[in-house]
Amino acid sequence: MRKFLLAVAAPALALLFALLVTTGILVVSGHPPLDVYKSMWDYGTQPDSLILTLNLSTTYYIAAVAVAIGFKMNLFNIGVDGQYRLAALFAAFVGGKADLPAPLHVALILVVAMVVGAMWAGVAAVLKNRRGVSEVISTIMLNYVATGIIAYLLTEGRFGVLAEGSNNIGTPPIGPSGQVPGLSFLNNLPFLKDATTSVYGMFVVAIAVGVGYWWMLNRTRFGFDLRASGLSSTAATASGINAKRMVLYVMLLSGAVAGLIGLPQLLGESHAYNLDFPAGLGFTGIAIALLGRNSPIGIVFGALLWAFLDVSRQILDLEGVSKEIVTIMQGIAVLSVVVAYEIVRRYGIRQQQREVGRQLGTDEPVLAEAGA
């Protein structure tokens, strides 16, 4: 119970701190904070906004899980951003060219996306294992290389075709058999009653990814090895875990999940990868994974909160408040959450040492000055 309280205290405190700072900024710039928050809440809880929130959080959740898989064993896959964009491009192209019956068509797109994402992440894994290159640096570089490759491929005559009536270049559109319909039955829910859109069908896939991540982490040998490697790589190696193989598998898995990030948008809405396909979702994923502390459940809350803020801030322009205030709030929340976790961790260790000290018959904490 105490452990649970500590785990919840950290994000709660951090969010409170972020809210306080945001309130301070609003007061200084002359906007009544409560009115601003109220209009955000009112706008964000309308049925259409809620559906947007659910759709966005579908994408965010997958992105955060892709990041978290690596983070859980202290493997920093900063390259999720490049992986999903490259994967979405190839998946969109293959999907646009293919002509298959509905379930197979969608399956093909999913498989292509996961394979491409995994392969791009695999480059970083091979560089790390064979040449000792830090995955942080290599994945940052690979993000930009991916940007270059996409810019090269997404031109007319290669993967791109000019969309009719605009100068937006995109992959050939995916036919109806490759599109995933929305979950319109959800619109019967009381709080989604009058919505004009529906939740992406990929919502189901996001749930599957979450359950799979939880299962892998807590119910499989691989998940155990992964967590052990994250907690102490030396202890893991000593107990017979092959560190290099873990790096390769975890990176491939992270990349495969990253490949799915672009698909809610691709299969549910745009049906093509074009120049204005959303970018930067990999970094949002990092932020949400940190907020949710890499836990399959924690990330659900992180993704929902992030998406809700992203949707409800759209009203702020009408209120005369610049909506970037929400970006600041998100940034502060992430930074203060990681600081809060660290403080709570040190506090917990201190308590533990105090407990040991008490049992040894002295009130002084054992090795208190060591801190951790």
Binding site: I286, L290, V338
Partner: protein, 427 residues
Amino acid sequence: MSEQKPQGGTKLGLPTPGDVVAPLAMQQRTFSFTGWRLAVLISGLIAVVSMVRIVTGAQQIDSAGTIAAAIGFAIPIGMAGLGGLWSERSGVVNIGLEGMMILGTWGAGWAGTTWGPWYGLLAGTVLGGIGAVVHAIATVTFGVDQIVSGVAINLLGLGVTQYLSTLVWPNQPTQSPTIPSIPTFTLPWFSDKMKEIADQGWFFVSDVASALRAITYDVPYTTFIAVLLLPITFFLLWRTSFGLRTRSCGEAPHAAESLGVNVYYHKYFAVIVSGFLAGFGGAVLATVLSGIYREGQTQGLGFIGLAAMIFGNWRVGGLAAGALLFGYTQAIQLRSGAAVHALLLVVVVLLVLMAALYFYRRSTRSGIIALIIAGLVFAWYATTETLPDQVAYVTPYVATLLVLSLASQRLRMPAADGRPYIKGQDH
């Protein structure tokens, strides 16, 4: 591309006779350039480029304009890299350079349009420093993972500048009005003479003249400040006891602590300097290169700076070479497509020379590989008229990956780089 490694070190890690066998002094051996060897290498490079220029007729490949543009881009890259060097030498990885640079561009846009360009540079520098203070509090005081904090700083840098822009420029929040320009320096008679010689198109002489013209004609004063910061950094970090202490925090913080070094203080100092430098780089980018603050104008230059630092093996000289090379790839793609194509030939010649060196050293396998690659690149050159624009764009990143993967034995990052330090807790 990778053969332009700043450490042409032929020592392959063997200590040179002059080396003192002490952990910190041992790093000196990676900088095994004696003056004449550097001179030979540079002249050789000029000769190769000059030859290719005459053979292909791609004058833009090393015209004064191209070199000036390359130096222009190299300044923000180099400043970000220098920032990374300070921070990482003290043992703090700084992925947040990009965010600090963004803060710098905005500071230059805001103060530059309000009070003039010099105040803009100052404001950009200070804002970068403020970003670094946040990074230092998170990583040094609280021991948060440095990568995580850096990612958060990048997020925050973007959000804060976007928000501030809507307050300061409510009508057009994605960019500032034009920033007044920085005065430039021209060496009177000499620079004109150099232009005359450069225009002759002579072998070697004209190429040297182009370079001299580029550094004596219309040079913004910020360039001199930035270039001066390189030797100043080298002196402070490698020739003073303060610098030795800072570097010892990046190598063995607990050993440093046992000798009475205040590790927290040195880390804070280095990280904040790193923010100043990245902010200054961003401010130069906005003031000198663009003349305007525009949202998203850094385009990952902070990361290229980080790449230049790694490429340069966490050393000042190597970093400068890396920044110049990456600045050149940024400049050349804007200047001329034909020159980019001609560069393939430069790569071929350099690969052949490298192969010759390998054969001379009797490593036949590496020699053959280099020759095969040279053949492939030549075939690419011969069968195409132009290169895709993206080739120059990805060059810095691919070069960094190549250097990291091919020369990783010769790269040596600070031993305790990236590890959180808690006082009195030695593992």
